[in-house]
Symmetry: C2
Subunit: 513 residues, 2 copies
């Protein structure tokens, strides 16, 4: 029994129960279940062209699987044509192989109430992934450390509308490259109880991730359930490297989920057009997900799309642009036509500061992600400077905005109470609704309210120091970190995890490359 194994692992003794009693109650919203329609931006005709062209790309141009004789052998066995590292996939084969991938899966969290469903009408939010730098008002921009990492995990744990703890919320550059994943996983497992991501920087580190999950969740539970969703980037254009494919192999064969994701700076790694880029995205995802299903039919995967536009003057990637939104909408449509969960979007921006540029770009992306039907949204909060920086202030700013998506997706209430005809009759022309019964009964949940923004009258706001959003956010970061309380954990499990990390670290010399 999978659940039995899990309960054992989470059982714990008196100490754990005592810790549980003293912990501060932190609200986490259930993952979003969309009760509004998805916007279908591209026409049926355009989508059919893209699908046809993507198959042409796979058949005639093909994709490279680099340094992976096993991958080439596997492709050959299912009927692809192999020429050096080039794999040409007959029309229709990749799409057929993709059919065994589930349209929806559950990623379990340590706290079962925080397990998430990914696919169908759901939207799961996860924080920024990957930046080597951090920034805050006090310390400015600097290389990220493990201490920063832990702070972001704590903030994520305390963010109501963030459903997922994420993965590399920043790169802890003070820990050796070959040991970072151990500390990062330990932080997600112990400082939060939300679902998280595993390491992909080496197949062996993916294996370590699986083994740590076996300690946390129980070995049997992990084999029968998905407890990690990890990020497998494709080396666009049309190239699959052996490290990422090795990590994918570890996760797929262990029934763990992978996001198969083209990573594209538009105009550099894909054609400088929306339809051309979508064609390449689809070809890459078809090949990558087909490969995951060759490794293990039924392995949970997500149709990923990370595409930026580019400023052709400076060569810088740009975010929140109309073309990036069009690609996001189109990729979502392609994913739904394959019946696959879809990853894209997030709080993407190019700005160096959490200022108005950052917020316009971020909001443009968040809105497109919601309306475009994203199921898994990496980089939902904290992303700054094109992904070079994890920003403490922007983390709480974006996390607050995620509440707007949650409420928007809930749709409108057309019940008798929602219709409010009694209130309209009661108040009548020239009246005032604030005091009427319907308002009194409904006002608490009627309108979404930011827990960060300033809604005070000008005079009050001015007397309090005329603070801008960044300043308010800095205060909120401080408040949250000061009031953080670690979620309770079975001390035996904790000891085993710490032992595992210590032993692994001792087993190899430090490496910083």
């Amino acid at each position: 029994m999978a659940d039995g194994g899990r309960r054992r692992a989470r059982g714990g003794g008196g100490a754990a129960r005592r810790a549980e009693r003293t912990a501060v109650r932190i609200n986490t919203a259930k993952f979003i279940e969309r009760n509004i329609p998805v916007t279908e931006l591209l026409s049926e005709d355009t989508l059919a062209i893209i699908e046809y062209n993507a198959e042409t790309v796979l058949e005639e141009i093909g994709v490279n699987f680099v340094d992976s004789p096993e991958a080439l052998a596997r492709w050959k066995a299912v009927g692809a044509s192999i020429d050096g590292e080039r794999v040409r996939i007959p029309r229709g084969l990749a799409r057929k192989l993709c059919q065994t991938a589930p349209s929806k899966f559950t990623q379990h969290a340590r706290d079962p109430a925080k397990s998430v469903e990914i696919g169908g009408n759901t939207l799961v939010t996860a924080p920024v992934y990957g930046p080597p730098f951090v920034r805050d008002v006090e310390g400015g921009r600097r290389y990220a450390t493990m201490d920063d990492f832990r702070k972001f995990v704590k903030l994520g744990y305390m963010s109501e509308f963030l459903h997922h703890s994420g993965g590399t919320v920043c790169e802890p550059t003070d820990v050796p490259v070959n040991k970072r994943h151990l500390d990062m996983l330990l932080a997600h497992m112990t400082l939060s109880d939300k679902p998280f991501m595993g390491s992909v920087t080496e197949p062996s580190r993916a294996q370590d991730s699986v083994e740590m999950c076996e300690i946390l969740f129980g070995k049997e539970f992990v084999q029968e359930n998905t407890v990690m969703t990890s990020l497998i980037n494709i080396n666009s254009p049309l190239t699959f490297d052996s490290i990422m494919m090795g990590a994918l192999e570890v996760y797929a064969t262990n029934n763990q989920a992978s996001i198969i994701s083209p990573f594209i700076v538009g105009g550099a790694m894909a054609p400088v057009s929306v339809v051309g880029t979508l064609t390449q995205v689809l070809a890459e995802v078809l090949a990558g997900i087909a490969y995951s299903q060759i490794l293990r039919p039924g392995a949970p995967v997500i149709f990923g799309t990370f595409v930026t536009s580019i400023d052709m003057n400076s060569g810088a990637p740009t975010f929140g642009t109309p073309e990036a939104s069009q690609i996001l909408y189109g990729a979502g449509q392609l994913a739904r036509r394959m019946g696959l969960p879809f990853r894209s979007g997030g709080g993407l921006c190019g700005s160096k500061l959490p200022d108005a540029q950052a917020a316009y770009e971020t909001a443009n992306t968040l809105n497109a992600a919601l309306m475009g039907g994203v199921n898994f949204m990496l980089h939902s909060c904290g992303w700054l400077e094109g992904g070079l920086v994890s920003s403490f202030e922007k983390f709480v700013m974006d996390a607050d905005q995620l509440g707007t998506l949650q409420k928007m997706a809930a749709g409108v209430d057309a019940s008798e109470n929602g219709q409010a005809m009694g209130a309209i009759a009661e108040v009548g022309p020239s009246g005032h609704y604030l005091g009427c019964d319907h308002t009194q009964q409904n006002f608490k949940d009627a309108f979404w309210r930011s827990s960060l923004f300033d809604y005070k009258p000008f005079e009050t706001w001015d007397e309090e120091g005329a603070r801008d959003t960044q300043t308010l956010a800095a205060a909120r970061v401080k408040y949250l970190l000061e009031n953080y309380q670690q979620p309770a954990m079975d001390p035996e499990v904790l000891a085993k995890l710490e032992d595992y990390v210590a032993q692994k670290k001792e087993s190899m010399p430090d490496s910083f490359v």
Copy 2:
């Protein structure tokens, strides 16, 4: 001949032609023609409930027409039941009267290339309307003056993605209340050549607006064409005052366009629910537009909706919230079902500064407005602090973002060039697109590019002073105002306009109430 009259008015002599030759060329994008689908957020069932309930409101509760015996008489004549100032409209009557309103109309500009079509698949952007205060980095927050007003008109004239010069871009508080409209209209007419709005603060001022347009465009042209779109607010809930209705009468009988717009702070002036609010909005618009068609069947009108949410803690109106977006989407659907042009949205925000809060809130609204099918977007740029402040910096920030709507609405190119299959074949796996033919031929228009945001590498940006968006915007405001050149105008027309304003001002004592 209407066109003949217009050409005469614009004819001018050598001086005008010389002025024309020396003027700096300012680009103005054509009004947006939407090539993407509209998002239909609410279900058919919910819309049918709202439509049924709105008719119930009109029939059973009714609306008040205050201090307007003529209005009551007109309503009685078409079959409504009158009880004091209360007008009860039999089910179906208002909707039937609305049928003579055009689904689309052209508002002519002084420069015919800048005339706009309002309705159907178009989107026309107009600036902020109404704030008594202005703000900029140098001068802070202060009462607006006529000098500020002129600056905003100049900025609007120079904003590529702003199609309309607007109306009260700020309240010139240094000019007597009863004479402001003259100076404001003269500024729009002479400092810009884009379409503009007329005065609604007194019926006599609406009449002055028509007369000034007759000087600018020619009397015959004005009678046969629409040259103003003005804002007629409904005094929600369900109340129509005699001043606004008097202005509507002047405009409708002169074939000039009016936006019939509920003005609602949610929870105070309408029920604290989306469906209840939409019911009231529809009832109010049905009554208002029906009345415009009683005044003159075929008078051009716009289905307006201005609804904010409210922070029930402070009572402050809030913007960019999910409920505000849901109401915008729903109202758009209701307007389209009536076949009427739709006004809503804009760069709405509650923030005191043009900071991240302002930009999140603004972008949420702009995105909803685009996807929700807004045809006329007042407050597109410059709106700050819940509409109390016109911000110079936010004006250019928002005006820049309007470019994203323009490009997004253009849709995607699925032509052979857009498909870029040649480029994908040419570059192949692991290649680079920057140098390929397709990129070279298409890069200039491929990706929208902000003309305000910072896209430079961190180091360059840091060396240049680490400027945030507000600082960049302040520099842009300065640059634009320094480089403004007035569009050429027939000196005879200008003299007549100035005479008209001078005579009108002399004809009455100053009033500041």
